[in-house]
Symmetry: C2
Subunit: 160 residues, 2 copies
């Protein structure tokens, strides 16, 4: 299959919220997400990679820009309750995603996407993947270049 | 829709590899994934959450157990080339995923999944999400309990 990726999507209306240095024990991710759900806030993506060596971890998430203020307030309260270390908030982000049935078993799809961004000098802030999608969080200012670079890298027709 | 999640999946044949403290600059994620692709290794999932304060970041990934030795060798070389801080490898992990069309806009799906795991005392090691799936990496020993707890939490028929 010479087109493992069949679409590239861009969402610029998201805000990144990071709960830094929360305890790495059962119930922490649940509490954070429950508090947001209770406030009626839909979580776009959730990111957690490696734990720190001090039994702490970072949980990052993205929400719609329109939910930013309420989500930040909820997360700040949650962080305090968990005795987490810090809250980071960045509205200047965008999500670029490569979508296709070939993502799951086509070796090199992530590499192709990441290389397209790298060649354009675009830094990848967060990564989330599934069997049909690779999503990267980049700076808002890089959004349209990111979309075009990834689009070209997968041999798709011009977006414009 | 009272069944936002329609299936729960489990994969116990995966190994977690973490590239700890790699430079947070364009080209790093690309290099790591290109080296794995060049070795013919398919990446299952890629995880990157928040950067560290010293312009470093962690990139974690999962590969099939059968690819572990080669993947670790490739990642070790890549880490050295990037002057990253550490490589972590853990084969004692499993991926439990909640899948369904309701994940994307049904507030609280992530909360429900994470709470199911928490109530069973299961620690979440890594999180990756998409609009139709929430995946958690847990300890291999927790795998079948994780599957059952999440299954029950979403009101699905028994797996057994
Ligand atoms: C950090 C967070 O994911 C924690 N390990 C939990 O299980 O909730
Ligand atoms: C850490 C890694 O994702 C880096 N920021 C890159 O763009 O490749």
């Amino acid at each position: 299959d010479d087109h493992p990726v069949t679409a590239v999507a861009l969402d610029t209306h998201i805000t990144k919220i990071g709960l830094v240095g929360v305890p790495d024990r059962p119930g922490v991710a649940a509490l954070a997400c429950e508090r947001l759900a209770a406030a009626g806030i839909n979580i776009d993506l959730v990111f957690q990679a490696l734990s720190h060596e001090n039994q702490r971890a970072d949980i990052a998430l993205t929400v719609a820009d329109r939910d930013r203020d309420r989500a930040v307030a909820v997360c700040r309260d949650t962080l305090r309750e968990l005795e987490g270390r810090d809250l980071v908030v960045d509205g200047d982000v965008a999500k670029v995603s490569a979508v296709g049935a070939g993502v799951r078993n086509h070796v090199g799809v992530a590499a192709t996407m990441f290389r397209a961004l790298a060649d354009a000098g675009i830094n990848i802030q967060m990564i989330s993947t599934s069997e049909i999608k690779v999503s990267c969080i980049v700076a808002r200012a890089d959004a349209s270049r990111a979309l075009n670079q990834v689009h070209d890298a997968f041999g798709l027709d011009s977006v414009n």
